[in-house]
Symmetry: C2
């Protein structure tokens, strides 16, 4: 559909988006002519603009105004810049900045995501976010019951991603002696060791019935801890620079600003904004309808550690945003993250 655009139409459309991105104002035929196409007249540009308008790429706010780009124009624009080498779009200063920020102590995947979101927002000046995916894809390596004062014990669950320890359980008077705990630990490990955390819902009693016997309470406690952990970490979204969107005139009224902020502060909403197929290297979505952020464009990149996709990071900004820069930053972050980080598990935790 877009293929039959003449070379000149393409140049004009690209120029129009460029100008609109930098000014935010409707672009006039003479603007385009003087800055991008000095070899023709503005009248020629005008007739081309008419054609582009008929094709649905651009529109006029009112009869005597310039043109503004529509969704398709942005799509065309993004395609045209994606072709180039995106990493070359960052200055040396910026790449150095990114690298520096990542060398700090970052153990947890959580810290990593947060830091990525911050960096992206700092450099691009747009609202950014990072999401950990596959949180439930965690394997239990070992469970320990550690006795502490009184008749309590701490449940310590070691996984391939870190550890979970936030709750003490009360053993009542059942077993204050070490052997009780030892047995309980052995049983728990027989049940849980090597299992994936996402399967906990399926941990039904049937299969392991006779093993549990006297340890039913502890078993339930552990299940509970895992459930809470999964629910708290599912769709873990970090948003950075939320207020930066308010600097752009598109969101210069309280109504829209409030709406935007309420959408992005709700993690459920945020995860709906992510591309369905999380494995896409890059995703650019412009003006998603009915999402509460229809005046926005969302660019995401999936990042990996080793071969595994750990999450996504991206930018949410006005439709007229600096796509070139954003894609460049995301691309560089993507690369940096997989090289700077030691694969989890070799390091502590």
């Amino acid at each position: 559909m877009g293929k039959e655009l003449s070379e000149r139409k393409k140049r004009i459309l690209h120029a129009l988006v460029d100008l609109y991105i930098s000014t935010g104002q409707p672009v006039s035929s003479s603007d385009i002519q003087s800055k991008y196409l000095p070899e023709v007249s503005s009248a020629t540009v005008r007739s081309e603009l008419s054609a582009l308008e008929a094709l649905g790429y651009i529109a006029q706010p009112h009869t005597s105004a310039g043109r503004i780009p529509l969704k398709d124009a942005y799509k065309f624009y993004v395609e045209s810049i994606s072709a180039g080498d995106s990493s070359s779009m960052l200055t040396d200063q910026e790449t150095a900045f990114i690298r520096n920020r990542f060398v700090n102590r970052l153990n947890e995947i959580e810290d990593l995501s947060k830091e990525a979101a911050k960096i992206i927002s700092d450099i691009t000046n747009y609202t950014s976010f990072a999401v950990e995916t596959n949180v439930s894809n965690i394997e239990i390596e070992e469970i320990k019951l550690v006795p502490i004062k009184g008749s309590k014990a701490v449940v310590l669950i070691v996984t391939n991603r870190g550890m979970i320890a936030n709750k003490a359980i009360d053993l009542k008077s059942d077993g204050l002696d070490g052997s009780y705990l030892d047995t309980a630990t052995r049983v728990l490990n027989r049940v849980f060791q090597g299992r994936n955390i996402k399967d906990i819902e399926a941990f039904e009693l049937g299969e392991i019935d006779e093993e549990i016997k006297g340890f039913r309470d502890i078993f339930d406690e552990v299940l509970d801890i895992l459930r809470i952990y999964v629910s708290e970490h599912r769709d873990n979204v970090f948003v950075e620079g939320a207020l930066k969107m308010l600097d752009y005139p598109e969101y210069n009224n309280v109504e829209d600003a409030k709406n935007f902020l309420s959408v992005i502060s709700d993690r459920r909403n945020m995860s709906e904004l992510l591309p369905d197929n999380g494995s896409l290297e890059f995703s650019v979505r412009i003006g998603k309808e009915d999402s509460g952020v229809d005046k926005c464009a969302i660019i995401t990149a999936a990042y990996k550690v080793g071969d595994e996709i750990m999450g996504q990071a991206g930018v949410i900004g006005p439709q007229r945003m600096d796509y070139k820069k954003v894609i460049g930053v995301l691309d560089y972050i993507k690369k940096t993250m997989s090289t700077v980080i030691n694969p989890i598990g070799d390091d502590e935790q």
Copy 2:
């Protein structure tokens, strides 16, 4: 200074603040007369208003407008309502709502603060916050070193407020046998047991030099964990309903809204907004200058568990806010929190 106000002036001033709080519009003499003082004429009210204006309680936005309250008027108003029984200002429905929300499983003081902030914001419809104070006033009860796979061990620090366990340390090849860990645990407990977490900076080597000997690495790791814990939990502020402020016409422009949001999302700023003397039962501050929220009023209450002050919770809203309701809610929350919650330590953790 305010004492010499005549009874009628008091009634008029109170009426004016009342009306202004409910409408947000400058209040005219005839409004006051018709709704609050039908026994006199509006001209009389006018002359009283002149006097109150001369005393600095109220002002006119422009010559032909009604009056709006100034800081002193709000102070007068708050004093006059604080005298009454604040708890009676809540409906039965509201008190039931509060009680219900608190009966849920709430282990950590953190959950408690968060929930309090949510409740306050839900009921009052203003932005609310809760702060844990005295986080550093935590005593170490016990330290455990739990060996996990490889040559690693988890450091588990049990305190009177809960437990800290987020890091595994690498023992290298030093000691894979249990006895090494046992000795290390004993030494660590001799050093740390019973000590207050806030004293960690003073844990210098001199005094306990010869005890550490071969456990210097582990000792440093533990110190590090404690330091990080303290710094992450100092001034732990939870803000709820931040966007609610944007519903009030006072913040109906993006400039102010952005400013407000950036102030309250920064925890350092927030802790500066708290009253210096955290032990005050209630604190009402109106239009604090140079704070970035000079158009706001801030009401805080200290809440206790047992005799110990655990934190503060409060509301930040427009100066013309429903003081009666807010104070009522805070008062009830205060009472409920100390009764619903089991003293920490009896319960799990």
